[in-house]
Amino acid sequence: MQQVINKVKPEIKGIEQGETVVLVIPNELYSQKIGGIARTVAKKSKAVCYVSLNKLINALEPKLKKSGADVSKFLFVDGITKSANPNIEEADNVMYVGSASALTEISLTLGKIFNSGHFDGFIFDSLSTLLVYNNPKTVGKFVHNIINKIKAKNMTAVFTALEGDTNSSLLKECSMYVDNVVHLK
């Protein structure tokens, strides 16, 4: 039986290979922490799939580089740009999905990426954005679906959630499927 431990930590250096974690980040620290999270996951991985529902890739990539993350290891799944610009063209390291409301499209895209076998690191940013369009139970099922695929590949996975925009129902749902829920401070 898995044990969920709610820890309050200043960083996530202790994340283990193959571990799945929900990181609850205070809203005011989100911009500050996201670079460090990407850097940590990249250090532990050969290749990382980064799903971004909060930041456009053209703004995220420079931010991650500045934080010292090795972005050459990243494949980005951008779930935000296409909602404003449906005609955006795909780039070598970016796949675009319709929006944060398109759970099926996101699932299918991630399925293809995971099945390639290239990736051992995963970042999902963020679960809170999914809550705008979906209830916690639906988001929980979505996370469960993704986790099953991640566990089959022994991938290290981090799901971010914003402290101020996340409710306890979401954390309760997701805690059933992940190894740890960590509250960053």
Partner: protein, 198 residues
């Protein structure tokens, strides 16, 4: 910073005010509530500084996004905290229970608001300045914090942008109406104003 006299910025602010004022009448009928508009803030900024003018809110924001085309290119964005977006959609649908997620129906109602605002804004520009401007299809976007500014800037090319920001309230709902124009479009407006003043 390109030269842009105060009188032109004031004139653009006034045109934006007219558009927002006309839109507020339609919104008031739609929501059966008074719409309060605050004095618009106008600024010419380097693109990198635009997020500070728009405001990098530390909460989830829902935006009703529209691109402008024709004689002007830019973005018209209504930015609402997620909870306000839900409240506003509930008001228009006259729902008695509070929604917790933005359903397709709620998104369509918000797009309706976007359409009203765009039509009124564009009408004030086209009628007064005799420019040919129209909006594209409304889109619902959501992002955290300063990312909403990054989204708004997608339709704006160049090193500088003209930002017109109007804060508004509809009952408990608080939001921002943001017009972002590329510099060449700001210059087009300036020339049209000059022509009017001759």
């Amino acid at each position: 910073m390109p030269g842009f006299q105060k009188k032109f910025l004031d004139a653009i602010r006034e045109i934006g005010n007219m558009g927002a004022g006309q839109a507020s009448g339609s919104l008031s009928k739609l929501t059966s509530q008074k719409v309060v508009l605050h004095t618009p803030h106008i600024a010419l900024k380097k693109i990198v500084n635009v997020p500070k003018v728009i405001g990098g809110s530390q909460e989830m924001i829902v935006g009703i996004y529209n691109s402008l085309k024709g004689d002007l290119s830019g973005t018209l964005l209504i930015a609402l905290p997620a909870k306000s977006a839900l409240t506003l959609a509930d008001k228009i649908q006259k729902k008695k229970t509070k929604s917790t997620t933005l359903t397709k129906q709620a998104q369509d109602k918000l797009k309706q608001i976007g359409e009203i605002v765009t039509q009124n804004y564009v009408a004030s520009i086209t009628q007064f300045l005799e420019l040919n401007v129209s909006g594209t299809e409304e889109r619902i976007i959501s992002a955290f914090g300063e990312s909403i500014a990054d989204l708004a800037l997608l339709g704006v090319k160049g090193k500088f942008a003209l930002v017109l920001r109007t804060e508004f309230e509809i009952g408990s709902v608080k939001g921002k109406l943001i017009l972002l124009l590329a510099m060449d479009s700001a210059s087009t407006i300036k020339q049209a104003i000059q022509k009017k003043l001759e």
